[in-house]
Symmetry: C2
Subunit: 417 residues, 2 copies
Amino acid sequence: MPLMKSWVTSANDPTCDFPLNNLPYGVFSNGDHEARCGVAIGDQVVDMAALEAADMITLSDEPVFDLPFWNDVMELGPAAWTTLRERLIALLKDGAAEQAQVAPHLVPLAEVQLHMPLVVSEYTDFYAGRHHATNVGTMFRGAENALPPNWLHIPIGYNGRASTVVVSGTDIRRPVGQTKAPDAEMPSFGPCRRLDIELEMGAIVGSSTQMGQPITVAEADRMIFGYVLLNDWSARDIQAWEYQPLGPFQAKAFATSISPWIVTTAALDPFRTSTPTREQPLLPYLQEPSPMLFDIELAVLIEPEGGESEVIARTNYKEMYYSAAQQLTHHASSGCAMNAGDLLGSGTISGPEKDQRGSLLELSWGGKTPLTLKGGQERSFIEDGDTLTLTGHAEGDGYRVGFGTCSGKILPAVSFP
Amino acid sequence: MPLMKSWVTSANDPTCDFPLNNLPYGVFSNGDHEARCGVAIGDQVVDMAALEAADMITLSDEPVFDLPFWNDVMELGPAAWTTLRERLIALLKDGAAEQAQVAPHLVPLAEVQLHMPLVVSEYTDFYAGRHHATNVGTMFRGAENALPPNWLHIPIGYNGRASTVVVSGTDIRRPVGQTKAPDAEMPSFGPCRRLDIELEMGAIVGSSTQMGQPITVAEADRMIFGYVLLNDWSARDIQAWEYQPLGPFQAKAFATSISPWIVTTAALDPFRTSTPTREQPLLPYLQEPSPMLFDIELAVLIEPEGGESEVIARTNYKEMYYSAAQQLTHHASSGCAMNAGDLLGSGTISGPEKDQRGSLLELSWGGKTPLTLKGGQERSFIEDGDTLTLTGHAEGDGYRVGFGTCSGKILPAVSFP
């Protein structure tokens, strides 16, 4: 599919994240107006609440856009999602009859504040990248035991904490917690000393299921409203001491950042690709009937306080062993009810090469090979004042479908009462 | 404290779960009326929405009782919780001036349907019972490695699934999932064959904290709105295959049942008791400044389809090694934001004796010593048609503060699409 031209001319630049082919969904505020739904196009935001009030877009008897989240739109279902996208394309395409009526409802992106685009119902994080699982397993259990026995059969996941999912740009306070040095007799309590990122994609579930209602992979794929970039901030020293036997808890609970724009599954459709060849056959309930992963180029940048921003890793979402549709199918398989607004983290996305690793744990190999930044500083883990940023886009023919950025700056730990 | 007498005479029976000393909070419906807040007293429910409409109880400018959850009352804060309890006692005590005005707003418990008493924001389950952790650890890792190294220092917890927390009386569909026999080459997918209960108490967080705001144990204790009985249904065969390395997931996600009445911390105050002597000192942030556990007698009953109900275990909440206040403090310690409506499962409550074990896994020692029921049937794990019930009460001087029951019947698994 080529670039779809828009009368918003900035959207036609081949390096713009938000062409007409994209139309991602966010929540914004500006001036005295409260936060409400918006759609990014070029360097502008379409004020969806204003279009709805002007009867130029109507999805439901109740207003669904003059709200600080997209959950109400999700709950209208996939047919309404398609109607919305088609209507937006008709309004914004080059030569649209309603250009003059729509234009007053555009707000420059540079003048708005972006907010969380949804209310996260529950947050689940997976461990579905093979290179990451192999790297981490090798460091902790040795190369011969790198992958747990269930890994090739189950998209391993655990429930995360929804209350601390925040939008890009939110400062992140260095967490505190229990850690124990291998040679110490007792644990101690204090600021995390091995603070890390995890480069992930987040899939947003848009449709609900009932308790006891399993779903197929095809159904799961149709339930996914869209995707965001996701940084699963991780306290490696807290994690090492706490995670046996019941998994990560406080090491992950302090913060998860997501990018502000939900890129719809419809916008990503041209970039579908299959999950990698299976080393062992999957059980039938997890088999993909058609390509459900996406070719999305990803990067991690670090910017020390007062320093320069630089890329420290590049990888691609297609490196995952399991798609979000497979993860969602497994999630519902026991009878677990899924809800619109559920957020599924893909798991860390690392490629096969050293500079394709999606965490500092892997990039510095547990601190053994620190990165040297352009300014000469070394980094094994994140220092106070560092800003970590994720970027991502799918590359089309003369256009890109971009996610914008997912960014967070680390503030020093607070002292405990 | 002795029995507080009420003009609702059924409440003065020393075996009644709901005397004036208790006043637990639930949500009920009857006839054509929609679900709304109610308070149990004797064999009656006080219609709180009706009392509020009649201006006999006013907590806020907005109505807070004509809603199918207690979350709005929680968010008014501990001072409002005290005001509410004092007002209810004044209205319902023996000789109350307003008896004639209140009496028309009582509805017989036998005529109402009970619903979930709150919207569960997020659900966290702990593993804080020492006898349970020792029993399970002995079965899986041997007696010498029974307790994980962190267990005496951290109230180990993991995030559970809030979407499937249901009220007592809701039928539970047998879950399906991946399991793998030790000698099998590949896993298989099908109905759970080792379905179990976990007898727990659930603590309901009533106050919120900000991200990055740690709390003391004393603050945590004041944030707890009340307690319920909680059955953390568990699929042991699914759990065994999935739980390494990131903890229980689908083995727990299909259902968690709670009792319908939130027994307030205020009602439980006379039954406070300290956590057991520490084998190793706790880090300061987890130390209890005063007794924060409660003396609550608990029982598990099983009733096969068409059979007789019988007690299979009796234990006490005071067996726990960590209190809910300690768990909540640890939960917030990294900077994790807590919200009104968060539900914290205590972990399975087992006593030191064989008939004090809070799960079938422990009672049948992994299936090696099945229970023989009165009707002659054997049980290692739960069969389709079985109804499992938890009961609990604190025993006062001539009265009890009861929780009612937490019950669920197992339906056969559905076939997967």
